[in-house]
Amino acid sequence: MSTQPDLLYSEAEDDLRAAVRSLVTDRSDHTAVLDRAESGTPYDDGLWQSLAAGIGAAGLLVPEEFGGQGAGHREAAVVLEELGRTVTPAPYLTGSVIATETLLALAGAHTGADGGGDGGGDGEAAGLLKELAAGRTVAVLVLPLSASAGAGLPTGPTVTGVADAAAADVLLVLRADGLYAVRRGEATVEPLTPLDLTRPLAAVTTAEGSGTRLSAADQARFAVRRGLLAGAGLLASEQLGVAEWCLEETVRYTRDRYQFNRPVGSFQALKHRMAQLWLDVAGARAAARNAADALASRSTEVPLAVSVAQAHCSRVAVRAAEECVQLHAGIGMTWEHPAHLYLKRAKADEIALGTPGHHKEVLAELVSLPGPL
């Protein structure tokens, strides 16, 4: 690519951030998140309606012809930063990014010369897309959260580790002969106990042949991979939000916490750790913006930008959350303090949509740095 990526935030993106932040600040404080997660109903339907339909976040990736906002990945990334900052349980990454991007690929929107297709369900996919964009329906891909665009994808009747299936009305099931839309009522969704309490996982079983076929096999795989790639790219923005909160909260706490007659944040050993974290977060912001911008502009550099962002941001989020617990010390180890919600989200995000190791292997190929013979 010859043009430089735009790594800043536009005014419209700032406005969007302000709207989402105000919503989640109102409705998704840590106590509420933890209480809901513990009660087994982590999602707040009202919050989702306000986010998806009210603010219109569900349709950010969707062109206006399909009832969306005609915005793009840069804006969706801002939403994910805010959801990450508050570890809000919401099917945004899974539904409004991954499933939506998959359906966009099928509906032939903006696919240009790189794929899309030969009918077989475009009408169905387009119809579903409109439902998603309006925030009336939530769809998720029936794939493990750990699945990545560059690896094998399971097609069995039962798929385990599916994120946000409990929040979905429609399940997009990859089978040997194509992608199917299955109403949740026709599927068995069995909740699992997740490490990350704020992103529920389930084992999903659908009967062979159930649901509506949206596309043929090749097209389905292409579309699903595109969905997963966009998901991985924008997950970096969620990780950025997680890391940012962890750093800000740690700075705030160590400024206020006195031991040895001084704020613990005045100890150089601790200051240096937070300063180093700030450097890493600055890098994470650049990498996450780059991935979002590449996705938005359909750059040929998308795979590279996504893998760079994932290889970096996954680690930064985990380290920021681990440092957050350690520098809070005792209080950070308690269930009552929110630090653990971020630690669990960061650790799960590290595995989600390809581990940093996986993304480094992808990069090795993309940038011609092969491993030893």
Partner: protein, 395 residues
């Protein structure tokens, strides 16, 4: 006859008089204490024989071979590891006689009321107050303690409280033995990030402690507490492990059993951690050998540091290695376990629990300062808290 042979004879006579098969456990343990075979390095009359500490192994081996019951040392670890050496060092004869026997037999469980929400790394800044009710009266204690394991099971606690707020923080503390059944003691479970509550918060409201349960002189509690804390760090870092005996064991087994999970990147990281775990094990072994020949090395201060970092990195790697399975957790149910096994349960539990290893019993940051200042003799941090009256400290 050598001392060891003499001791073996003593044990066999004891076993003949108290055959484990026919003796009730409590009676056996009490008799063992009275025979001086509980902790042979303690004085005669207090469960010991005034013998060398190393000879305890001889007694333990003989008793184990005879199928004798033990005192379940893990259940009463705080009593054995921390309260007992402190009572032995600072207790009156009456206190030693009253407390050590039921402590050792496990009849009375002990807990430690030291840390407070506002006094963690800076323990000496603690604010729980003990005020004397008249010149010769009881002490009345008010305050809050935190991170107290076994508080809900304990009959007694070792407690430090502020008795002189006008003195600099290290000088206004007094050490007490607190009755956990006193009506002013309230124990609440403290749930932690693993979902369970290994620890408790303890609220002390008007707790009455007679002066004969003060340990050591008034105002010298910090000195007494240092004895307790030295013993705590020894017990945290000092376990003997076989190769792959610690946190590296489960991940090594997973690696061998699950070839489909392996990647080149994880392989190199695993091997790096494996080498570090083996070196940490050897360092511990060398430390024990130094101790055995009476040359304790400063490596002891570093053992807990290495153990904490390794546990965290290894368990973090294991969650990542398990991929999709690493996204799951075994159980978030709130429980109050009696015993804690860092390597028990699944990888997610190990990952979360090990986060506490660099906090409990002295944070890694504090321990690094100790290594820097006491081992390397580097100049200390500038301090402005040592000579200020406690009441004037910023908090």
């Amino acid at each position: 006859m050598t001392e060891a042979a003499e001791l073996r004879l003593r044990v066999s006579e004891f076993l003949a008089a108290h055959p484990p098969a026919d003796t009730e456990r409590g009676a056996f343990l009490s008799a063992r204490y009275d025979a001086g075979l509980a902790w042979v390095h303690y004085p005669a009359g207090l469960g010991g024989l005034g013998a060398a500490r190393s000879l305890q192994a001889v007694v333990d081996a003989e008793l184990e071979a005879a199928g004798a019951p033990d005192n379940d040392p893990r259940r009463i670890g705080i009593g054995l590891g921390m309260a007992a050496p402190t009572i032995l060092a600072y207790g009156t004869e009456e206190q030693k006689r009253r407390f050590l026997r039921p402590l050792w037999t496990g009849e009375e469980v002990w807990c430690q009321l030291f840390s407070e929400p506002g006094a963690g790394s800076d323990l000496a800044a603690l604010g729980t107050r003990a005020v004397r009710d008249g010149a010769d009266g009881d002490w009345i204690v008010n305050g809050q303690k935190v991170w107290t394991s076994s508080a809900h099971l304990a009959r007694w606690a070792i407690l430090i409280a502020r008795t002189d707020p006008d003195a600099p923080k290290h000088h206004g503390i007094t050490y007490f033995l607190c009755d956990m059944t006193d009506p002013g003691v309230e124990v609440r479970p403290l749930r932690q990030i693993t979902g369970e509550a290994e620890f408790n918060e303890v609220f002390l409201t008007g707790v009455r402690i007679p002066d004969d349960r003060r340990l050591g002189p008034v105002g010298e509690g910090w000195k007494v507490a240092r004895t307790t804390l030295m013993n705590e760090r020894v017990s945290i870092g000092g376990m003997r492990l076989p190769r792959e005996g610690g946190m590296i064991g489960p991940v090594a087994r997973t690696w061998r059993d699950r070839p489909e999970l392996r990647t080149h990147e994880l392989h190199q990281r695993l091997l790096t951690l494996w080498v570090q775990a083996e070196v940490a094990r050897l360092t511990g072994e060398r430390l024990r050998q130094q101790l055995a020949v009476g040359q304790p090395g400063p490596e002891g201060s570093g053992m807990k540091l290495g153990f904490a970092r390794l546990n965290q990195e290894i368990s973090g790697l294991e969650v990542e290695l398990r991929g999709g399975e690493g996204l799951l957790y075994d159980d978030w149910t709130m429980r109050r376990p009696e015993l804690v096994d860092f390597t028990g349960r699944d990888a997610g539990y190990r990952y979360l629990r090990s986060k506490g290893n660099s906090i409990e019993g002295g944070t890694s940051e504090v321990l690094l300062n100790i290594v820097a200042e006491r081992v390397l003799a580097l100049p200390p941090e500038p301090r402005n808290d040592k000579d200020v009256p406690w009441k004037d400290l910023a908090r």
